[in-house]
């Protein structure tokens, strides 16, 4: 315990180590927050759930905080649902079997530029006769635009932006622009309160209808959305625990087993040592990344299967040679002979006497290995071999690359996951470097 405290004391003399530790701690807290805030099943549902989960999100838009930048006032998504707010809806009977439902949406639009899309989602309950709706748009300066009329099915989406007849009525402007444009200068939006009036005729006593208006904005959430309207925040948040788990488990798995096997080989010597040496030499020839890609393509893209393969291929790595050289020196030390003299068993000598001596080499190697594996996971994802279920940072970069994000100027899509990867990797590397200098006094002097 005192050794650990002393280590921290020395470590805190390096400003880079403090920065690195702060980053690592921050990342761990971020990951814990992700796991607590969005449980695993919920994260998978939000990322893989299908259109229903993200149909109200705009497509490929930057995060909402861009509006904090000076001079930027991009529209946010406005979502009004008559099922949630019954006060919007009035119903009156016109005849025996004829009811009229009026839904009056008020949209307070005070943004620069135009929304991405405008869509009305209807749900209707009826037995045989389908309800009919008419939609009218009123601008703040009092102009009225008829959007169209529609005979409803039980579930219907009226995509205003795709109405070509409406586009002709609006002098060829796309509807989401034409509806919000200033008549004096169609390149600017007219700010104020817009109204959308939905008048529905119900032909049955028991029939009913509800409407949900979505005016898709041009910013979303704290991280933006991707090409499938998914909230990138889910992926960025959940990428942290996955990256940390993969990096730490792979580093522990490879470094600890490598060290243990090197110690066994040196201690027992003979054919065990020879076998370990030969296996290592063969393993160095095997193409590491291609094998991972093969496993990913033929067998399973699950991140945990790939983790096992990474560890298996990493055990007999070149590191064994380094540890072997150090263990060979340790084996000759007098205290090992003393341990043997008092009758310590083979395993006791390996675990209690040899391995502790190598910890100064091991700890920096371990910390420095973490970012390597974090980036390895991202690398596999960038090649399209990301986990099929879980959202990871690498997969977000892969989606962005596949959809030409840089080419089209969707920088947020690449910068956010890449930034998180960089910060994580940099944090661990900083700590690893500092540990290296603490544990290897020859480096500390120079």
């Amino acid at each position: 315990m005192t050794a650990v405290r002393r280590l921290f004391g020395t470590l805190l003399q390096f400003p880079s180590a403090i920065a690195g530790l702060a980053i690592v701690l921050g990342m761990v807290l971020f990951a814990l927050f992700a796991v607590i805030a969005i449980p695993y099943d919920e994260a998978v549902r939000l990322w893989r759930g299908g259109e229903d989960v993200w149909s109200d999100n705009p497509r490929t838009v930057p995060p909402a905080w861009v509006n904090w930048l000076p001079g930027i006032n991009r529209p946010t998504t406005i979502r009004i649902d008559s099922a949630v707010e019954p006060g919007l809806k009035t119903r009156q009977s016109l005849d025996d079997d004829l009811d009229e439902v009026v839904i009056d949406f008020a949209i307070d639009y005070r943004f620069d530029g135009f929304p991405q899309e405008v869509t009305l989602f209807f749900t209707a309950a009826f037995a045989e006769s389908r309800p009919n709706v008419t939609m009218t748009w009123t601008t703040p300066d009092g102009r009225e635009v008829r959007l169209g009329n529609l005979t409803l099915r039980p579930s219907e989406a009226f995509r205003v932006s795709q109405e070509s007849r409406l586009e002709r009525r609006l002098n060829g402007l796309p509807p989401e622009v034409g509806l919000f444009a200033d008549p004096d200068d169609p390149s600017r939006s007219l700010k104020g309160e817009y109204r959308l009036r939905v008048e529905g005729l119900l032909f049955e006593e028991a029939a009913d209808l509800d409407a949900r208006l979505v005016v898709y904005g041009r910013v979303h959430g704290w991280a933006g959305t991707d090409h499938r309207r998914r909230d990138l925040g889910v992926a960025l948040l959940w990428g942290a625990p996955i990256a940390l788990a993969f990096g730490l488990l792979a580093a522990v798995g490879t470094i600890v087993t490598t060290m243990f096997i090197a110690a066994m080989g040196v201690w027992y010597g003979g054919w065990i040592d020879a076998a370990i040496q030969r296996i290592t030499e063969v393993n160095i020839i095997l193409p590491f990344l291609p094998i991972l890609i093969m496993v990913g393509t033929f067998y399973s893209r699950s991140i945990w299967v790939l983790l096992v393969v990474v560890v298996l291929l990493g055990i007999f790595s070149a590191g064994i040679k380094t540890y072997r050289a150090i263990f060979l020196q340790i084996k000759q030390a007098p205290y090992i002979e003393a341990a043997r003299a008092y009758g310590a068993g083979n395993m006791r000598i390996i675990v209690r006497y040899m391995i502790p001596r190598i910890i100064p080499v091991l700890v920096p190697a371990f910390v420095s290995a973490v970012p390597t594996y974090v980036f390895l996971e991202a690398s596999l994802a960038v090649l399209g071999l990301g986990d099929p279920v879980l959202p990871t940072w690498g997969k977000v970069i892969n989606d962005a690359q596949a959809n030409g994000a840089l080419f089209r100027g969707h920088y947020f899509w690449v910068l956010q996951p890449a930034g998180l990867l960089l910060v994580t990797g940099f944090g661990f590397a900083l700590v690893g470097f500092a540990l290296d200098r603490v544990f290897n006094p020859r480096l500390r002097d120079v």
Partner: protein, 380 residues
């Protein structure tokens, strides 16, 4: 010595030299050479055989291929109006004969274990054979031609990048070791952790800055499309496309490499014999050349040799990110369609290059480091 070389690759077996007779040492060298060659060859054989097994998933890929053939043949037969008029039994027979021909073409009619040894034999004799799916740009199915066609771009990119990196790191290390503690030295140490990220990662940032925002560099590829007909324009276009990937390769490793070399040189510069040389009043250039660089030569040579062989396979992801038509991307393409001959060919060539390099390095050590004694049965 072992500690000192820890940041870089370790040297071979180092032991005090003992005087020996000339004939005895010749016999020893011959014996050493033969044992070493045999051990390396066996390693290559096992490594390549394992790769063959993995690339075929122990025979499982054959099942995939069989079902693909069956599906394609039955689809082709079903689409053919001539064959549709045949009686069902005859059509089935015809289909089976087509499937048999296809399976024979890929060698699927023989048991996998037998075939795996045949693959091994032809791979080891560098009879690379024909690819199963991919073809070269000129339309050839010869694996040799496909690899040769892609080798050029890969070598161009990675040789430029890695050599630049190597010499910048070496010179930078030397300069910093001379004036360590200065602001430049501290800057490099502070930036060393940036090497935790691989080159494709910096590639994305470079593309973002120089291609997307500034629009001064191409997004990827090797030459402009369509390629300029004039050779000078072609070379200029090539050069322009080379800038970003080479920068990515250099940036991703340069600070760590400079730091390692600098530390390495500093450790050697603190040896007693260097102090002695200083006391003798030698110039700093002479000290550097004779007392610092000379003993570190084996490590530098090792670094350089391994650098050269890593050029071979290129880098799958860097080439993918920059859309570079090199060997790495071909290998990735081959893996995704399970084109085993190409996967095995690149592995076997890499294995041979590695083995030859390791073999030659032993002799190079003996030449550049007089302390090295050839150690029979040493490490790879």
């Amino acid at each position: 010595m072992a500690d000192a070389s820890a940041p870089l690759a370790g040297t071979g077996g180092v032991a005090p030299r003992r005087p020996r007779g000339a004939s005895g040492s010749l016999a020893r060298v011959t014996r050493f050479t033969l044992v070493r060659l045999l051990a390396l060859f066996l390693t290559v054989v096992v490594g390549v055989y394992l790769t063959i097994m993995i690339a075929n998933m122990g025979g499982y890929v054959d099942e995939l291929r069989r079902s693909t053939i069956r599906e394609n043949v039955s689809l082709a037969v079903g689409m053919d109006p001539e064959l549709r008029r045949l009686p069902p039994a005859e059509r089935l027979e015809f289909m089976e004969s087509l499937i048999a021909i296809q399976e024979e073409r890929l060698g699927l009619n023989r048991p996998f274990l037998l075939r795996s040894f045949a693959y091994l034999g032809s791979a080891l004799t560098l009879d690379l054979g024909r690819s199963e799916f991919l073809s070269s740009d000129s339309g050839s199915r010869e694996v040799r031609l496909i690899i040769l066609e892609r080798l050029g771009p890969t070598l161009l990119l990675f040789a430029t990048g890695q050599l630049l990196l190597f010499f910048i790191a070496l010179l930078g290390g030397l300069v910093l070791s001379r004036r360590y503690g200065g602001w430049l030295d501290r800057l490099v140490i502070a930036l060393a952790p940036t090497s935790a990220a691989p080159s494709w990662f910096y590639g994305i940032f470079l593309i973002l800055i120089f291609s997307a925002v500034l629009g001064v560099m191409p997004f990827g590829g090797m030459v402009a499309s369509p390629p300029p007909p004039d050779p000078i324009d072609y070379a200029l276009s090539l050069l322009k496309h080379l800038v970003l990937p080479v920068t990515a390769i250099v940036i991703s490793a340069v600070f760590l490499s400079i730091y390692s070399y600098r530390t390495f040189f500093l450790i050697f510069a603190s040896e007693d014999y260097v102090e002695m040389a200083k006391a003798k009043g030698l110039t700093s250039q002479a000290i550097e050349r004779r007392y610092v660089l000379r003993p570190t030569l084996p490590n530098i040579v090792t670094q350089f040799a391994f650098l050269i062989i890593t050029l071979w396979s290129g880098a799958i992801i860097t080439e993918t990110v920059f859309n570079w038509p090199g060997l790495g991307r071909t290998l990735f393409g081959a893996i995704t369609v399970t084109d085993v001959p190409i996967i095995v060919a690149t592995t076997v060539i890499y294995a041979y290059l590695l083995a030859v390099t390791v073999f030659l390095l032993d002799f190079v050590y003996a030449i550049v480091d007089p302390r090295v004694k050839l150690d029979v049965g040493g490490a790879l």
